[in-house]
Symmetry: C2
Subunit: 203 residues, 2 copies
Amino acid sequence: MEASQAEATADEDVPHPAKKRTRDPEARRAAIVEAARATFAEQGFAKATIREVARRAGVTHGLVIRHFGSKERLFLASVPSSHNLMAEIAGDPRSLPTRVARSYVRRMSRSGGCDPFVALIRAVASGEGAAERLFAVMQEESLEMYRQVIPGPDIDQRVASVGAYLIGVTFSRYVLKSGSLAEMSDDELVRHLTPNLRGILLP
Amino acid sequence: MEASQAEATADEDVPHPAKKRTRDPEARRAAIVEAARATFAEQGFAKATIREVARRAGVTHGLVIRHFGSKERLFLASVPSSHNLMAEIAGDPRSLPTRVARSYVRRMSRSGGCDPFVALIRAVASGEGAAERLFAVMQEESLEMYRQVIPGPDIDQRVASVGAYLIGVTFSRYVLKSGSLAEMSDDELVRHLTPNLRGILLP
DNA sequence: CGTGCTAGTGACCAAGTGGTCACTAAGACC
DNA sequence: GGTCTTAGTGACCACTTGGTCACTAGCACG
C-alpha cells in the first residue's frame, strides 16, 4: 500500500538499522506464540496476518511458517490446551457462582483483554473450522466438570447458558468494548455477575 | 488457491450456459441486498467476498460495487436500520422477560439463522469498525426504550447484561451451532430463556 | 427506426495473502 | 581453524481480494 518505489520489490523491508542475527529457536518460538496470542485476540483469525505476527515477534514471516507450518497451526499453538476458563469448579455448589465470576474476571483482567478466550470467540465468529471444533471440545469439557458438582436436572442447558452468558459478557467488554459492561471495574463486574450466574445455574 | 489452469485469466467465468441480460435495477439491488444479508450472516464480514455475494445474486461483482460503492457500504445497506431486536418492550414489566424471549426466538427462527443480528455479531468480531459503531448505537437505542419501562436502579447494567446474554445465546445457537442451546427447539428455548432473563432484568 | 441513457459486464489492476525455497550465517563439535 | 547442522532470511510465487473502467446492450422516448 505505502512505500514501493524505493527498495524495489523487497518483501521483508524494515529499514534494517543494524543486523544482529542470533540463534535461539526456543525463545523465538515463544516470542512468536506470544505475538500470535495478542494478534489473534486483537484482530481475529481472518484479519490477523502471519506477517503482522512476525513483525511483532521481531522475525520474518518465513520463520513463523517454518516453526508452525501454517496459519491455522499457529493459531492452535497460540491457544493453550488448558482452557480451564472455569477451572475452580469443585467445592460447595452454593458458592460456585461467586467463584466462577471471580475466576473469570481475574483471568480476563490479568491478560488485559488479550486472552485466548477472546481470540477463540473472534475466530469462531469468522468461521474458522479449527476454532469451532476447539471451542466445542472446551465447552464439553467444562460441562463434564460441572455435571459432577451441580445437582438437579437440566444441568446441560444451564451450564450452556452460563457459557453463553460469559461469551456475551466477553464480547461486550473485550470485543465491542462499549456499554455498561465495558465500563465496570473488575470488582463491580464480579458483583454484577455473581447473582446472574447464580440465577442461571441454580434454579 | 484452487482451480486456475483452465480458462486462462478470466475473472467472471461461470460456464455461461446462456445469456439473457435483462434490466431491472430495483430488483437487482434487492437481490444483492438479500444475498449480502445471507452471506454476511454465514461467513462474517471479513470472510465474505463481494464476488460471492454477486454470485448468489446472479450478477457480476462489478455491479455490486456499482450499486453500493464498497464492501462496507454494502454491509451497512444489508443491515436494516430498524434493528428493534427487542421491540415489544412497552407493557407490563412483569411480562417483559416472556415477551423478550418470545420475540427474540420468533425473529431468529423466521430468518433461519440468517438474521442481520448474526451478521452484526460476526462483523464486530472480525473487527469491522462500521459494525462496531452500528452495534453500539443499536444497543444505546434499546437501552433508552428499556429505561422508560423498567423501574429501579442499575437499569443500564441490567439491560447491558440481557444484551450480552442474548449475544451469547445467539453465538452458541447460530454461530457455533453446538451445545445444548443449539439443540433446543424454539419452544424449549423460550421456556429456558424466560426465567433467566427475568433473573437478570428484575432483581 | 434511430438515438440516448444508463444498468450491467468482465478484463484489468494494485495490494496483499499464505506458503515455498534457495540461500546465509550462527554456533556446536572436531 | 575447519566443517556441518540448521535457525533464520527474504525474494519469490500463485492466488485472492476490493475496486476501476472502457465497453456493451436493454429499453424508453423521439
